[in-house]
Amino acid sequence: MNFLPLWRYQNQLIDGAIVTLELTVIAALAGLVIGIAGAVALNGRIAPLRWLVRGYIELFRNTPSLIQIFIIFFVLPNFGLKLPAFESAAVALSLYFGAYSVEIIRAGLDSVPKNQIEAGQCLGLSGWQVFRHILLPPALRNAYPAVTSQFVLLLLGTSLASQVAADELFHVAGFIESRTYRSFEVYAVICAVYFAMAMSFKALFAVIGLAAFRWPRRR
């Protein structure tokens, strides 16, 4: 066992980790927006929109995300939409994370008692105001634990982007391995990096959760 040959690749490893973080954060933010919008559509009155969202969720939750990335990277160019590797992976992972987020956030919205909506309406608030100020905060709190664990899955899942040669951590690892032939050492190191990133996010989310959701739980 010899980790020393890896030392000169530390900059590549750091760059790879940064790309992994970028992919994760972009997909998470975009996916969250998709999740909220999709949850609203699913609970909404427009039937074709509900079917559309339902179809999207089922499609992305029941197919391999690796193939989703491939389709966006290799197949869409045939229809005139050519995206570079990073962008393809970001789009695919956003849609993947979004599909899970829709269900999680919808469950959060459904967990808020209907009388809260009624109380808001009775104070003369608009539909949007009721949603934004009365429904959404408790819904996000209820959805938060599930969203954060899905986020960690997303972080680990970004390694799939290596297959379209996006320069994220796992792809960098493959490159270093091909140069050094130190398979165990390389993968042990990036495993530790993924682990450290995942644990750091968990700690960060715990702190954010405490700061954002300060009201006492219902007894």
Binding site: N115, Q116, E118, A119, G120, Q121, C122, L123, G124, L125, S126, Q129, H133, I134, P137, P138, R141, F213, W215, P216, R217, R218, R219
Partner: protein, 242 residues
């Protein structure tokens, strides 16, 4: 013109006709208490008055304006009609102050600089000025209900509806809520209550409306109604609620 005019209102849920032709007027400044057995339609009637339910036939007018779920200025209308619920329905994620000031701020009734003063003012009226920075969960049921009343008062409503507001409270907490409502009555607020509190109905209300099987069965001043019920249904209801 009465503040609230209800004309021959019918309302059906599925196959059950809950309101079978209800007519009722409530004058400005009047305290009207609706009593009756569960299932008599009294809560449904109350919910129809601020368009939480829509009527099938007949009409309800408040301040001369016809009320229905699709009225153009429903939001403005609801700002004038406060309703307090059995389950308080405070917003658990907002402190007492924000519970009260959310709607006045969002609807543009007051400016941000005046918000806290408004909350202090209405909380003083329900005797809870010291709870302005508390979370709803930290309050007792009676206190939560008084905050819910304060939240309505902050919108300066022309009419207040109370839907069994003491029914979810422990017996020892009922008094504090009724006292607040009594004070509001004395200040001239027009109030329509659905309640099981016969003491309150007897002592504070100007008029009792007894509903039975979806109809206004009997109505009149409390003294007369409780002493000399005209119908056997009301007599038996009074006897059973003692």
């Amino acid at each position: 013109m009465a503040l609230v005019e209800i004309r021959d209102v019918h309302k059906t849920f599925g196959k059950v006709e809950v309101l079978k032709g209800v007519s009722l007027d409530v004058e400005e400044g009047e305290i009207v208490t609706i009593i009756g057995r569960s299932g008599s339609g009294k809560s449904t009637l109350l919910r129809c008055i601020n368009a939480l339910e829509s009527v099938d036939t007949g009409e309800i007018r408040v301040e001369g304006q016809k009320v229905h779920a699709k009225m153009a200025d429903l939001k403005k209308f609801r700002q004038r009609v406060g309703i307090v619920f059995q389950a308080f329905n405070l917003f658990p994620h907002l402190k007492v102050e924000r519970n009260i000031t959310l709607a006045p701020l969002l609807t543009g009734r007051i400016e941000k600089a005046r918000a806290r003063a408004l909350a202090e003012d209405v909380l003083t009226r329900v005797g809870l000025a010291d709870k302005i920075d508390a979370w709803p969960e930290q309050l007792s049921g009676g206190q939560q209900q008084r905050v819910a009343i304060a939240r309505c008062l902050a919108m300066a409503p022309h009419l207040m509806l109370f839907d069994e507001v003491t029914s979810a409270l422990d017996p020892e907490l009922v008094g504090e809520v009724l006292k607040v409502m009594e004070a509001m009555a004395k200040q001239g607020m027009t109030m329509i209550l659905v309640t099981h509190e016969m003491g309150f109905a007897r002592n504070v209300a100007n008029r009792i409306v007894f509903m039975h099987q979806g109809r206004v069965w009997e109505q009149g001043p409390p003294a007369k109604l409780f002493a000399n019920p005209e119908t056997p249904e009301l007599a038996s209801f009074i006897a059973s609620s003692k």
